[in-house]
């Protein structure tokens, strides 16, 4: 326990870094993922293919490489210094957005065909079909897999440790050298415990929401 209580300031800052990465990345991922997901089911062929290229490209790129591009290459291109946490957050958002988009798309696919057909039969437009009939039903079946996407995002925030962002993933290297040389094994075990607790928390939230939103179909 001494590892935590002696360096409480650092752990608090690290936890804050992880939460900023998680919520910032999650927000970007949700917005971008919604747009890309909508593009992938839209009636516009070009938008569909742009969405498909984006999703297939980024999903087949390691997150470490995406972050590498954002954290190392973007500052060279912009010729500016940027707050170190901003670019990894954007990278997390861009990467997770592809999973959000695919989750939304498969959620839309779980809505029975008859629903959309009935909506079209009474003369609703594409926008109305989506907002009034399909999306409200899809959102229920989307929530459990969407929470899994966010659990993965939480674990992926640790990758930012490789790009000099203080978070729970990099707290080890901050506690490795004097004046704060702590037992590395103990530090990492504590990090593990924190992550297991956080993940279990999200999993519990997932179960609660799943039960609340379940529909008999």
């Amino acid at each position: 326990m001494g590892v935590i209580t002696d360096n409480l300031d650092l752990w608090a800052e690290a936890l804050q870094g992880t939460l900023v990465l998680f919520f910032g990345g999650g927000l970007i991922a949700l917005v971008l993922g919604l747009v890309v997901g909508a593009m992938r089911v839209s009636p516009i062929p070009i938008a569909r293919s742009v969405g498909a290229v984006y999703v297939n490209w980024i999903r087949n790129t390691p997150l470490t490489l995406v972050m590498f591009f954002f954290a190392f290459c973007v500052p060279i291109l912009l010729r500016e210094r940027i707050d170190p946490i901003v670019l990894p957050t954007i990278a997390l958002g861009v990467y997770t957005a592809t999973y959000v988009a695919e989750t939304i798309r498969s959620g839309i696919n779980t809505v029975p065909v008859g629903q959309a057909e009935a909506a079209r039969a009474i003369g609703l437009t594409f926008g109305q079909v989506m907002t009034l009939v399909v999306l409200p039903q899809a959102s229920r079946s989307v929530i459990p897999p969407m929470m899994s996407v966010f659990i993965a995002l939480l674990k992926n925030t640790t990758v930012a440790a490789g790009f000099s962002v203080l978070n729970l993933g990099s707290v080890r290297s901050w506690l490795a050298e004097p004046p704060r040389s702590e037992n590395q094994l103990v530090v990492l075990l504590w990090v593990m415990v924190i992550f297991i607790v956080l993940v279990l928390l999200l999993a519990w939230l997932q179960r609660v929401m799943e039960r609340k939103w379940r529909i008999a179909r």
């Binding site: 593009m39 089911v41 009636p43 516009i44 062929p45 070009i46 938008a47 569909r48 742009v50 297939n56 490209w57 999903r59 087949n60 790129t61 390691p62 997150l63 470490t64 490489l65 590498f68 591009f69 190392f72 290459c73 060279i76 291109l77 912009l78 010729r79 839309i108 696919n109 779980t110 065909v113 959309a116 057909e117 079209r120 594409f126 079909v129 989506m130 399909v134 674990k155 992926n156 640790t158 990758v159 440790a161 490789g162 993933g169 080890r172 490795a176 037992n183 590395q184 094994l185 103990v186 530090v187 990492l188 075990l189 990090v191 593990m192 992550f195 297991i196 993940v199 279990l200």
Partner: protein, 305 residues
């Protein structure tokens, strides 16, 4: 694409509107592309001396070494993850509570730990208690532990999604639990879950890039090293582009395998469903078979959507 049920076949007005939106999309993509190219030109990324590094054979040999290091970690981790996945899945399907419950806990915990933290624990944490290992083994063991536990859940879900009649029939002809699992349940579960299993292997390949952070000398590490070489005017963006292309190509190749496997299983399922309905008219089947058939049919229907 008229297969979508979300919208009608567009009429003249919708066609015109879709065209405008299409043009806007293209314009937006082109604008982003043009901006990137402009920034490239502005910061001199197109100049010859930035790309000079790729004219040397030894540089390509080092990139090749990095790619081989990535692939060797991936192959060992993939095989290990499959083995561990089977062991954990069988453990979790056990009838004995003293095996089932601890194995369940191990699987859950391994899944909850970020892979990178596990790698760090092996590489930076274990030397404290006197266990030292190469970064290669830290990468491989962490990947095996994480992906093995995920695959265990996949295989278990595959077994549990099978109709009950399958194992009942197995017990009825006198097989023991091990026989039922080995001869009847696992082969079917693996076939049904093949696309998911290959997709998880793609994740394994992607996650080898985490080795970069614990100084395993894989492809990304080589990219960074070559990219910060001042002798060649630190061509970081150039090496990242080349290395990134290699990564994406490797993952796309594996994803393509997953796609092909999925297509093949879909076709086979359709063929099976087809023969089942023609060769077993309702009158000739036993009740058990009928139930199994209906259960199977329902499952495939929801898959087909």
């Amino acid at each position: 694409m008229s297969s979508s049920v979300l919208y009608d076949v567009p009429g003249p007005r919708a066609i015109a509107r879709n065209r405008i939106l299409g043009i806007v999309t293209v314009a937006l993509v082109l604008a982003i592309g043009a901006w990137v190219i402009w920034r490239f030109a502005e910061t001199g990324q197109f100049s010859a001396d930035k790309w000079e590094i790729f004219t040397y054979g030894t540089v390509w040999m080092r990139i090749l070494d990095g790619a081989i290091a990535t692939l060797s970690a991936f192959v060992v981790a993939a095989v290990g993850a499959l083995v561990l996945g089977f062991i954990l899945a069988i453990g979790r399907l056990s009838d004995r509570a003293w095996i089932r419950i601890p194995v369940g806990w191990i699987t859950e915990v391994l899944r909850a730990i970020p892979v990178l933290i596990f790698m760090m624990l092996l590489y930076y944490g274990l030397p404290v208690v006197g266990i030292k290992m190469e970064p290669y083994w830290a990468v491989v063991i962490a990947l095996v532990a994480y992906n093995g536990s995920v695959l265990a859940e996949v295989i278990r879900a595959g077994v549990e999604s099978l109709p009950r009649g399958q194992s009942e029939a197995g017990y009825a002809i006198g097989l023991r639990k091990s026989g039922v699992l080995r001869l009847i349940l696992l082969p079917q579960a693996i076939r049904a879950m093949m696309p998911v299993i290959v997709a998880q292997l793609v994740v394994t390949l992607k996650d080898t890039a985490l080795g970069f952070i614990i100084t395993y000398k894989e492809l990304l590490y080589v990219i960074k090293l070559l990219g910060s070489n001042a002798e060649f005017h630190s061509p970081l963006i150039q090496t990242a582009l080349v290395g990134g292309t290699i990564y994406v190509a490797m993952c796309l190749a594996l994803s393509y395998v997953a796609y092909r496997v999925e297509q093949r299983t879909k076709r086979r399922q359709r063929a099976l469903a087809g023969t089942a309905s023609t060769h077993h008219p309702v009158g000739e089947t036993t009740d058990t078979e009928l139930i199994a058939l209906q259960k199977g049919a329902g499952k495939y229907d929801s898959h087909g959507l």
